[in-house]
Symmetry: C2
Subunit: 174 residues, 2 copies
């Protein structure tokens, strides 16, 4: 089964979470007008009853991926949202599915970012574990810490392949 990545936009991604970008965002000047604030771009979710807390971490690519890419496993976190924002412009390809109990391969959708966008997965949304295309590409991560919170589903009987019209580009090409 071949999944074609469609352009990532706030509208197209809204069933799965937020697109973190300044385009189209509510904004206002701060610091005597020197700085513009694009405000509240993602809903950070945390199940307070579970005694979690919000973490800021960085992830770095050890092994660049290439398209077309075979999605062998998807995962989800039911106690908190999870945001990834590139620390240098770089396109991301994400594969997501609805927050149902046992997602099927044919429910998954793929998106490709414009290189400047970050994404925030809503709590419970299935997603392909992060892949990156650039050597040493880094992303800031805002997610939940405080105990295990990861479910996985392996697609054993189906080849789920994600591809994109143009090879996703790393920061070097921006």
């Amino acid at each position: 089964m071949l999944l074609h990545a469609q352009p990532l936009s706030k509208e197209s991604f809204s069933p799965y979470g937020d697109v973190i970008e300044i385009d189209g965002a509510n904004h206002f000047p701060i610091n005597a007008g020197k700085i513009e604030r694009y405000h509240d771009l993602a809903r950070v979710e945390l199940d307070a009853a579970q005694e979690g807390r919000v973490l800021i971490s960085i992830v770095k690519c050890n092994e660049p991926s290439r398209l077309p890419y075979r999605v062998e496993v998807v995962e989800r976190h039911c106690l908190g949202s999870q945001a990834f924002i590139p620390l240098k412009p770089a396109q991301m390809v994400v594969v997501v599915g609805p927050a149902v109990e046992s997602v099927q391969a044919d429910q998954m959708k793929a998106f490709v970012s414009n290189g400047k966008q970050g994404i925030n997965y809503r709590r419970g949304v299935w997603h392909m574990p992060l892949i990156a295309f650039g050597e040493d590409q880094q992303f800031l991560v805002v997610d939940r810490g405080g105990g295990e919170d990861c479910e996985e589903i392996r697609f054993k009987d189906v080849d789920l392949i994600v591809d994109c019209e143009s090879q996703a580009r790393s920061a070097k090409e921006f």
Copy 2:
């Protein structure tokens, strides 16, 4: 009064908050080893009793600043921490003071980042409002939303000037 910015490091900045960087951080592989996670780099503080929540925002430079720079005002947020992470490598100059009731100009210290570091101000720490040196420079912000939480002090009787041995550099030069 002239403040010379010293190199930003986890140790030197520890009275004021966190340096968000992968150097020296606890890390481990995830996603079948494709990705390395540098984990829990900053303490996100939130005064839960105040019904705040954690926000993800982006700020963008409207008007680049130059060094030496006159610090006319400092501010602090007592209900939550505030993190700034450059979305393209760019040096930051920050001026900070201890979390006391009424900070004095001669208690302030200045730091200059290496271009890849982000910073997280601890709750109640006085700081110069963000300045940036590059046209359109952007920073991811992780801070608290939910009602006013900003105190200001104006240094009226003292010229507090911050400078750095080398002009802080924008992303273009990295």
